[in-house]
């Protein structure tokens, strides 16, 4: 496992401060002594493999479950106080009342955040128009397409004008056009000062959208910083190669630690001398590209989360 990585961010006010938080379910420690600081106004990526403690952390931020130890402050207040009225939440698994009309549903969610119908209606109209749902306000949810329902779910998270917005896989299942509409909406919200926690398995989207990225693995923080900072830390041993022989030409070269095959090119992580590797490669095949490159977030994620031999052995034993 890689060591924890974090940087000092100076005096930017925090939207979320998590201090030494732990949570255990039975014998399973879901979150282990986690500390995290999410700066206000940023888009903060939450990444981590399934079952790593991401959802538990989000639920603790939302005050849906309580930590066993440690403190959580949201928008400057202890999480158990009224801060939840300023938090919008879009869960990964979507759910809306199928028989409810769109407007009634959005009003309901907004009123649960303490907003009046009079204050909500203009916001609802604005969002419905912005996401091309203006004609669907009086339709029932079960009359909408999947993409439309997903956009309604997004509006339900933002209808109360939250200061902190937690989005769990907001773009999954959306076509590129709808995904772009939502992405624009997210960026617009950030521009207006909303802090956005963006939980995703889509490393490409995280790289493009997030100001900072936090990765949790087996309940522990393993990454925390800007993409550039993270890549600098992991970026000295990765070489992008494009050869006539493709991935097959790389087989058996002793300097290689791992290969991420992209088809037309391969990202290679080395454990030996790059010069020796290049010499051996040139002898073996024609080299079109040889470039020392920063690893993608995807590569870093896989490097951290890929089970090692010992983990696999333990998993197999447990399965037996």
């Amino acid at each position: 496992m890689s060591p924890e990585f974090s940087t000092d961010r100076g005096t930017t006010p925090s939207a979320i401060t998590i201090s030494h938080v732990s949570k255990t379910f039975g014998a399973h420690r879901a979150v282990d002594d986690l500390s995290l600081d999410v700066p206000a106004g940023s888009i903060y990526g939450f990444i981590g493999p399934n079952g790593s403690g991401k959802t538990t952390t989000i639920r603790m931020i939302l005050n849906i479950i309580l930590p066993d130890a440690g403190d959580i402050h949201v928008l400057g207040q202890p999480v158990r106080s009224a801060a939840r009225d300023d938090i919008g939440y879009l869960p990964e698994e979507r759910g809306l009342y199928k028989k409810m009309q769109v407007r009634r549903l959005l009003r309901y969610y907004g009123r649960l955040k303490g907003r009046s119908v009079a204050a909500l209606d203009p916001v609802i109209d604005d969002w419905l128009k912005r996401l091309q749902l203006g004609d669907w306000a009086d339709k029932r949810i079960d009359q909408l397409s999947k993409g439309m329902a997903q956009k309604v779910q997004f509006i339900s998270a933002v209808v109360a004008r939250p200061k902190l917005l937690i989005l769990d896989e907001p773009f999954s299942g959306l076509d590129p056009v709808n995904a772009e509409s939502l992405r624009d909406a997210v960026l617009e919200l950030r521009k207006q000062g909303t802090t956005i926690v963006f939980s995703t398995h889509d490393m490409g989207a995280a790289e493009k959208l997030c100001d900072r990225i936090f990765m949790i693995f087996k309940g522990n923080k393993v990454l925390d910083g800007s993409l550039e900072e993270i890549q600098q830390r992991y970026g000295h041993d990765t070489i992008r190669v494009r050869t006539n022989g493709g991935a097959a030409a790389l087989a058996g070269l002793p300097e290689i630690d791992s290969i991420n095959d992209h088809g037309n090119y391969q990202d290679v992580r080395l454990k030996g001398d790059p010069q020796a590797f290049l010499q051996r490669l040139v002898q073996k095949t024609g080299v079109q590209q040889f470039e020392i490159t920063k690893p993608s977030l995807h590569d870093i994620f896989v490097r951290i989360a890929r089970p090692n031999a010992e983990d696999l052995r333990q998993q197999m034993e447990a399965a037996r």
């Binding site: 639920r59 849906i64 869960p91």
Partner: protein
Amino acid sequence: MSRILTIAQSEFLTLVKTKAFIIGIFLMPVLMGLFIFFMSYAERHSDTENRRFAVIDQTGVLYPAVEAASGAYNKQSGPDDARTGPRFLPERIDPAGRPTDDVKVELSEQVRARKLFAFVEIPAVIIDGGPGVSVHYYAENTSYERLPDWLRGVLNEEIAKLRFDRAGVNQALVTKLTARAPLATFGLVERTSDGKVSEAKEVNDLTRVALPMFFIVLMFLSVMTSAQHLLNAIIEEKMSKISEVLLGSVTPFQLLAGKLLGVVGVSLLLALVYFGGGVYAVMSIGRFDLIDPWAMGWFVVFMICASLMFGSIFLALGSACSDLKDAQSMLQPAMVLVLAAYLGSFVVMRAPDSALSVGLSFFPTMTPFVMMLRIVMPPGPPMWQVILAIAILFASTAGLIWAGGRIFRVGLLMQGKAPNLPELVKWIRL
């Protein structure tokens, strides 16, 4: 509090806008009325056939009475183009010395050939009577009872008349002398402040059975409507992860309280509609004495408690399940509680002041049904029993809401296999 009211309002509107509820609350009484009207109409118009039947009268004296009575009966059924009943058309059979069995075989053939509907054999000794002596009625359609019933009445009346005549006794006098004295049931009388004796209230089947039944059925309808809705709603919210979004805005207790308040509102609406209908119905028959505001008040109190109590149980169990299939099996014990309270009421109705009835009045899940029943059935329970039952009911309702809230809080976020009873108890203690 405003969040609780928001949830309550949403629950209320969601339930009262469903087709099932609208049918249940408004159309059901209309449908029942239409059904009764249809049954009555069908009774009068479904059987207008000619029922031709043969009579082998071995007494030689009874047939004329049958013929005369059939004439009167047919006249009563109205003219041919507007009949409200069948035509009974008797036909006298003279065996003319042939063996009776041969005649019976021949008549049976005629019945099979649809020339006759039935035939009757009246033995000669029927007027004297005796063990084993009876009129024999033969038919292919033995489930048709109208003709044999009518014949039984006509023949018995004529036979009795003949027996009185033979004995030289005046039948009219005997009938007068043996007429049964009616017995009317009244409540107690008391002397009023001006020294007069108050008029006792007559108790009849309407006040003794129909009124208590009305309250109990309404209570059952209210509990079942609420419980079923709560169960479906919570399973939908849990399965589609709506509950997770809601818990990001309100506490589990606020969610539970809002839902319970919503179904209490629905129960009150039910009571309002049915009370309105009931008051209209008794006023239309001039029975203003049946309108009892105190009983209605008690009903509202018991109904609110029943909705909260059973609602908490159903919500807690529903929240612990991940799908409807799990919920159905888990809810069986809760359904037994509701059904026991409902069916137990019919036992209590037979003897509302028995030790069993008094004991059941203090069992929390039965109290709303049993105590309500005892209050509307004269003479009513002593006030101390009502107060004790209400105290136990309030405490139990509060306890069940608390326990339900604890289970609800944990259950809403749980996935997978439904918990067993020890696990539910563990959730309460968490």
